[in-house]
Amino acid sequence: MARSTKLKILWLQSITCNGNTHSFFSHPNFMTLMQKFEVIYHPILDSKYSLDNVINKKLTCDILVLEGAFRETGMQKADREIYEIAKSYAKKAKHVITVGNCSTFGGVFRLYDPESIGGFCFNDETPNEAYKLFKRKLISLPGCPAHPRWIGNLLSMILSQRQILLDNFHRPIEVYGYSAHAGCPRNEYFEWKVDSKNYGHKEGCLFYEYGCQAPYTHANCNKILWNEVSSKTRVGTPCFGCTEPYFPKKDLWHTNTLMGIPATMPMDVPRRAYLTITGIAKSFSIKRLNEPIIKYKK
């Protein structure tokens, strides 16, 4: 049999919940996509090598996918530090992809011990030692979890050698150049400053009271939708900012305010501009936006 010329993927987990693995497995074309690659190791699929092989043999991979937060010591598999294993594969791989907020910034699990737990190349916003070694090949896909399409399309773009533009945190701009607010069906309520009154309604904006971080979160969730059908804000849950280095902030369901105005402004919007627009918008009361969209007959 001819040697496979497919790009080799090695998917390695550290301190994780497996959320990215399961998110990606919900990709509608999962199998078609994976068949384009040779999967050296994967956490839930039957793969060519065992974890013991991955840890104790020197295998090679083209694309190293990392899931979960890292610590230099104290996270061992088969008696070896997984951080060291990740670094040794990262040195030889052509691409290093950190999937999820944990492997990118440290995420939820960093909170347990922020002194020693972080992302592979960033601790929150700060680049760490590994960043210097791997910045040339690093692509970050933060999110809790990363959207299946972000992972699938990035792998396909690497395969087809498309141009992949990255931001300061090495996130692909085609995905993270949007705000999670773009495409939210509650946008009209945001424009006219109509608050959500309670949970469980289609109407109202969640930015003012309920902690929604979509206007300053980099992600295209409301453009491409989750599981192809929905998003947090579409079902009345605030965006928790899970693609950002400060995720998860405290008081996730409450908006921090300064003099009654959200303390964090929408992406790149000057506070003065926001206050001016808000003042004008609030001086009008738009009847339609203060009524239910659908009034079912009894």
Partner: protein, 427 residues
């Protein structure tokens, strides 16, 4: 002779340390190596933050953690005198989304774990077709889930007093069509007959499709009657198609959180759990036993808590849940309120317990809230019940089931019939 074995692809890893005597497993110790400290992370955070943080315990049963978490808050509110009455709509939506997650997990267990592991015994590779089936079926059922929860994994749409979504009939129609698709998949692939015909089955041998393949393989490898443990079962979480209670030689519908104890284990980061000082099995088999349907009772009479009954219970539950969630959608009244609690009370003092049936069994969250902040949070996962090494008095459920195995391959398959989840076990 002691043999160490790293077991992987179980939502993380575990280490099994076998003690062989005369060629049979005499004892096994189960070590889960890594603790992530979710309960510690929650300390001093706002009570509602648990709804976002606890799903991150587990990538495959995150939604069950959300529901346990919201039930714990609601139970605390009720005990604090703030009456929480959910509308039928909110109850049904939570049940729907939770059931979809269980179905998703069972599909993955069957096609990615159970069948490939048995094929390995014959030195055969898992065909791509099984991965395709697992992916197709789980993707479609979580799509139906996400219509209401916003996304899967890691939604937080269940809030104290109900749910945050406000679906239309059009949303419900879309979910119904996805459930229909998945039922069609079950009929064509999993059971090889239509559901009505399946309901008329008299024997396991009447079942066709992929389910027949697994029963054939269990037969071939002489495993049907293996994997017996203590034949004790517990169901804590309320769900309309499962009966809560416990079985230990006889049935009892009394079950009380107060009799649960957690015990630290040497060398493992996971605590073992007992009810009245005894180990109990939780999960699909426990739910099936407590529900007492004739087919299951006959099977149980013959095989007790063996590999065959455990495998059958998980697959049969998949079908039961799909039938159940169709009726939930058919009866959903969108005119009812989604959420009945206007606001969380300020400076809340509460102590509540939330119990839920997750894919692998009873999941329990306990939250103690002082001045609106989480003072203490405790999570007891289904896999802690099933997969501990045990207590000083007796071996754990899976450890007991593995005793007498003829090989590591057989022992690890029995272990996997409990549907292992490493990340939940330690959390």
């Amino acid at each position: 002779m002691k043999v160490k074995y790293l077991i992987e692809k179980i939502e993380g890893e575990a280490e099994l340390e076998f003690d062989f005597k005369n060629g049979l497993v005499d004892n096994v110790n189960i070590y889960f190596p890594f603790y992530r400290g979710i309960e510690e992370i929650l300390k001093n955070r706002d009570a509602m933050d648990a709804l976002v943080i606890t799903p991150r315990v587990c990538g495959i049963c995150n939604h069950a953690h959300l529901i346990a978490s919201v039930r714990a808050i609601e139970n605390g509110l009720n005990k604090a005198g703030i009456n929480i009455d959910l509308t039928q709509k909110a109850i049904s939506l939570r049940e729907f989304t939770l059931s979809c997650e269980i179905v998703q997990s069972h599909f993955k267990w069957f096609y990615l774990v159970a069948l490939p592991q048995l094929l390995n015994l014959d030195r055969m590779k898992c065909p791509d077709n099984y991965i395709l089936k697992a992916s197709w079926a789980s993707t479609n059922i979580v799509k139906a889930l996400a219509i209401f929860s916003g996304q899967w994994p890691h939604a937080s749409y269940a809030v104290p007093g109900g749910v945050s979504c406000d679906p239309t009939y059009e949303d419900i129609i879309q979910a119904e069509s996805l459930v229909d698709e998945v039922i069609r998949f079950v009929e064509n692939e999993l059971i090889g007959m239509n559901i009505d015909e399946y309901h008329k089955r008299k024997e396991i041998s009447n079942i066709k499709g992929d389910m027949a393949i697994i029963f054939g393989m269990l037969d071939k490898h002489n495993m049907k009657a293996k994997g017996k443990s203590y034949d004790r079962f517990a169901v804590f979480g309320e769900h309309p198609i499962f009966q809560t209670g416990q079985y230990n030689k006889k049935y009892s519908n009394d079950i009380d959180f107060a009799h649960i104890d957690e015990h630290p284990q040497h060398n493992s980061k996971a605590k073992s759990v007992t009810y009245k000082d005894m180990c109990y099995e939780v999960g699909p088999l426990a739910r099936a036993i407590m529900t007492k349907n004739d087919f299951m009772l006959n099977l149980h009479d013959k095989y007790k808590d063996s590999v065959l009954t455990r495998v059958y219970a998980r697959l049969d539950e998949t079908i039961k849940l799909l039938v159940h969630i169709k009726s939930l959608l058919a009866n959903l009244n969108v005119k009812e309120l989604s959420c009945t609690l206007a606001n969380m009370p300020k400076a809340l003092e509460a102590d509540g317990v939330g119990m839920v049936e997750a894919a692998r069994g009873s999941l329990i969250h306990q939250s103690i809230i002082k001045d609106g902040k989480i003072q203490k949070y405790n999570i007891i996962t289904p896999t802690q019940w099933n997969l501990s090494s045990g207590t000083q008095k007796e071996a754990g459920i899976a450890a007991q089931a593995i005793k007498g195995s003829v090989s590591i391959e057989e022992a690890t398959f029995i272990f996997r019939t409990f549907d292992v989840c490493s990340v939940c076990t330690t959390h």
